[in-house]
């Protein structure tokens, strides 16, 4: 007669390390959000190649603000990754520092981007270039703000102890999303700032 019993073998709960079910879900989210940017870049190229006249109409955009902004954003990914690894080893202080520094660097990126918007000689409704310029950088900016919000929540939860050393997957998700936002910026940066200089 069969019966229910407990055996000596154990299985991990939710998965060891950061690769659990949520990790796969985040990869799917990144795939679909990455597609949005691919279609936006397609739209940029399509409008540029089909329109009459020069593209961009006022020549390639200035790199004066965009390059420092890029360095800040890419730098934030490294700081965050460093902090995440420290926190996974149980070092709460370095973990907090990593998230906090990424928040500041990301915030600085947003500030620079908004400042650059204010210096533009054109506005959203002017023409197809201005429309796609603000749409592409703006969609990215929204993603940065969402990422910053996630990091802020992670910071607060780490600070008040709700996310602790063993909550590897919470940190993994926020970090993965932030890396995605930063890598996508490199594509946006290449499209908006570098591609017009190729000709």
């Amino acid at each position: 007669m069969p019966e229910a019993r407990t055996i000596d073998d154990t299985l991990p709960i939710h998965g060891r390390g950061q690769v659990g079910t949520p990790w796969w879900g985040m990869l799917c989210l990144i795939a679909t959000e990455g597609s949005i940017f691919a279609y936006l870049i397609f739209a940029y190229a399509y409008l540029g190649s089909q329109g009459l006249g020069s593209w961009p109409p006022n020549g390639p955009p200035d790199l004066k603000l965009a390059v420092p902004a890029t360095l800040l954003l890419v730098g934030s990914s490294f700081v965050l990754e460093w902090g995440k690894r420290a926190a996974n080893r149980g070092d709460r202080e370095r973990g907090l520092f990593g998230v906090g520094a990424a928040l500041l660097l990301g915030g600085a990126f947003v500030a620079l981007e908004l400042f650059e918007w204010s210096t533009k000689p054109f506005a959203l409704p002017d023409n197809s270039y201005s429309s796609i310029y603000f749409m592409l950088t703006g969609t990215h900016l929204v993603h940065v703000v969402v990422g910053l919000f996630a990091l802020l929540v992670l910071f607060i939860w780490t600070f008040d102890g709700r996310v602790q050393g063993a909550h590897v997957q919470h940190r993994a998700l926020a970090t993965l999303y932030w890396h995605f936002v930063d890598i996508v910026w490199l594509f946006v940066f290449t499209t908006i700032y570098l591609s017009p200089r190729l000709t």
Binding site: P2, E3, A4, R5, T6, I7, D8, D9, T10, L11, P12, I13, H14, G15, G20, T21, W24, G25, C28, L29, A31, T32, E33, S35, I36, Y39, L40, F42, A43, Y46, L47, Q50, G51, L52, G53, L124, P125, D126, N127, S128, Y129, S131, I132, M135, F149, V153, W157, R162, V163, Q164, A166, H167, Q169, H170, L173
Partner: protein
């Protein structure tokens, strides 16, 4: 391979249901029976049924819209509808059938069946599952609130600019379309993520990828395509909304915009989507038809590969919807050739079904009739598809009723017939009762005759040159008789659907009891009681073959699927996750309990989109903040995570 006897000689090797374990698991997995439980359930079976019922309601609404149009078109020069009313009717008919019926219906099937077929207790993300349903419902309501005000979308389901631009279409109609589709896209996306991760992780041990039911292959393929395709239409809709409300110039030529950009973005989504609407339905046939032919599907591996191949090629043929807009000859040749290629995997599947019928021992049940009818419609729709893939012919046929005929054969023929056949097939599993075969045969023949009367003459009308989307036509052009036949056929089809509905309602309350396995089926869902218990499997089965319930008949090997001993997992709401490829036990998953958060998130998003529609910054900002708060609660960690657990087995 030998066919099976007509009925199983021995009792099926069903899962053990020891009363004490059933009671314990039911206390863990069962839903609350009050109102709160109704709103907060995350049970994949409940969500699947809700999907199916809601999608069917939209099918009826879309059908009534079609009938009203057919009254208008039954004779020349009729004035039952105004042109503007007609525009809104055909637009909402298309939007409803394509978005609110076809895919949600198949999602309902897959939500209900996947965990049962895969040997799991739930989907990977139960709360996300509930969220995708609530958003589907809310976006459907969003698209329909405009209808009584005469402000419904009115530029067709593919909504071409500049017809859909602010200049030519100043009302709220197109804003509702743009925002509604973006909203609906969230539902499809989260649902697709759920299917993909469920496939990777939530299978019974031994369920390797070469043992997956074809329905799983179909929905998986569609979900992967949705992940990459849905952003295109969501983006296009947002750009259109900005063009209309913020003065941008994405599609508006006056500032350098390109109307063709809309078509590219729309069909980059729209073409893969039409395969998303048929591949899971073809999966239903591939899984259910063999059971009524008493033998395994001919060519399992080629059919599974053909499913994937159809979608891979399907992602690259969107321009064949745009042959008539003026593309370079090289592009026309490439996309025409690529479109022809799709005929190859489709034919592989077709010959597999025909081979299964030809070499099987056919039982002419109602599900079999619907699947056989489907095969015939699949051929007609496929042949007219090859015709429209030819550029020269397409230039003649574009925007005529020939295309309307083709798309109804492929979408309604390949989607509706498998769906109704599938409902007849799995109804006993869901309700524990059989449907009436007598009424079933009547409903099939009425639907089949009505369908062909309604849609076949449209080919002729198209060849005569009747354009689509016209609200009336003059007498004496050869259009009169075909239109009268079509309208008559549409009403016969409607009567058939009504007979089916009567059968469902009658059988649900007074059909004969079904037992766990009335068709002597081959897959895991038939090993558990009907209707399935809240936890699905008391003991997680250990698979040894593709047809766990037919092993005794099919091969003499020693290996047998084990149903009566294995992982028990009764310490809380838990299930087993396996390694993605070979399906070995790897992790115990603690599943989330019932939650109000999915419903709240969908409600907040609904208010957000209403805020955008009426251009109330205050409303959309408040709702956006509510969305953020719910998301924080969603991801909130509860306690120190547990690291590992002793395994409980039943042996």
């Amino acid at each position: 391979m030998a066919t099976l006897p007509l009925s199983r000689p021995d009792a099926p090797p069903a899962s053990p249901q020891p009363p004490d374990i059933v009671q314990k698991l039911d206390a863990i997995w069962g839903e609350r029976s009050d109102l709160r439980g109704w709103f907060s359930t995350v049970d994949h079976k409940t969500i699947g049924i809700r999907y199916i019922v809601t999608a069917f309601a939209f099918l009826l609404i879309g059908g009534v819209e079609a009938l009203i149009m057919r009254i208008q078109l039954a004779r020349p020069g009729a004035t039952v509808l105004s042109p503007e009313q007609y525009n809104q009717l055909f637009s909402m008919h298309g939007v409803t059938m394509i978005f609110l019926y076809s895919l949600p219906m198949l999602s309902g099937f897959s939500n209900y069946l996947w965990p049962l077929m895969l040997g799991s207790r739930d989907m990977a993300y139960p709360r996300l599952n509930a969220l995708s349903y609530w958003i589907f419902l809310a976006s459907g309501l969003f698209l329909y609130i405009s209808f009584p005000f005469g402000q419904a979308p009115n530029s067709g389901w593919f909504n071409y600019v500049p017809q859909a631009g602010r200049d030519q279409n100043p009302g709220m109609n197109i804003d509702i379309y743009a925002l509604g589709l973006t909203f609906f896209g969230i539902s499809t996306t989260v649902g697709s993520v759920n299917f993909i991760v469920t496939l990777l992780r939530m299978r019974a041990p031994g369920m390797s990828v070469n043992r997956l039911p074809i329905l799983v292959w179909g929905t998986l393929t569609a979900s992967v395509a949705n992940i990459f395709a849905v952003p295109a239409v969501s983006l296009a809709s947002v750009l259109l909304w900005l063009d209309r409300n913020a003065g941008t110039h994405f599609f508006d030529v006056s500032g350098g915009g390109q109307p063709m950009l809309w078509q590219h973005l729309f069909w980059l989504f729209g073409h893969p989507w039409v395969y998303a609407l048929v591949l899971p339905a073809m999966g239903i046939v591939s899984d259910a038809l063999p059971i009524h032919c008493r033998r395994p599907l001919v060519g399992y591996t080629p059919v599974a590969m053909a499913t994937v191949a159809t979608m891979v090629v399907g992602l690259g043929v969107w321009v064949h919807h745009m042959f008539a807009v003026g593309a370079p000859p090289l592009a026309l040749s490439f996309f025409s050739a690529a479109s022809f290629v799709i005929a190859i995997p489709s034919t592989v599947a077709l010959f597999a079904w025909i081979g299964t019928i030809a070499t099987g021992r056919v039982q002419v049940t109602t599900p079999f009739l619907f699947f056989a009818g489907f095969i015939m419609l699949f051929v007609i729709g496929g042949v007219s598809g090859v015709m429209t893939a030819s550029v020269a012919l397409d230039w003649q046929l574009t925007d005529t009723y020939f295309v309307v005929a083709h798309l109804h054969y492929v979408l309604l023929g390949i989607n509706l017939f498998p769906v109704i056949g599938g409902i007849y097939h799995w109804f006993p599993k869901v309700t524990g009762r059989m449907m009436s075969e007598r009424l079933g045969h009547w409903s099939f023949w009425t639907i089949f005759v009505g369908f062909n009367l309604a849609f076949f003459p449209m080919h002729v009308l198209g060849l005569y040159g009747m354009p689509r989307r016209v609200w009336t036509y003059p007498a004496g052009m050869g259009f009169d008789l075909p239109n009268a036949i079509i309208s008559g056929g549409a009403f016969i089809l409607a009567i058939g659907i009504l007979l089916f509905l009567i059968n469902v309602i009658k059988s649900a309350t007074s059909g004969p009891r079904a037992g766990p396995d009335p068709w002597a089926g081959s897959t895991l869902e038939w090993s558990i009681p009907s209707p399935p218990p809240s936890f699905n499997f008391a003991v997680i089965p250990l698979l040894a073959s593709r047809h766990p319930l037919w092993e005794d008949h099919l091969k003499k090997s020693e290996e047998r699927t084990i149903f009566d001993s294995g992982f028990l997992l009764d310490e809380g709401k838990e299930t087993l996750a396996v390694t993605p490829l070979d399906g070995q036990p790897s992790v115990i998953l603690k599943m989330p309990g019932d939650s109000l958060l999915p419903g709240l998130l969908a409600a907040a998003l609904f208010v957000f989109f209403v805020g955008l529609l009426v251009r109330s910054d205050w409303l959309s900002t408040t709702a956006g903040a509510a969305v953020a708060i719910v998301l924080v609660m969603w991801f909130q960690p509860t306690k120190q995570p547990q690291d590992q657990e002793r395994v409980r087995v039943y042996a």
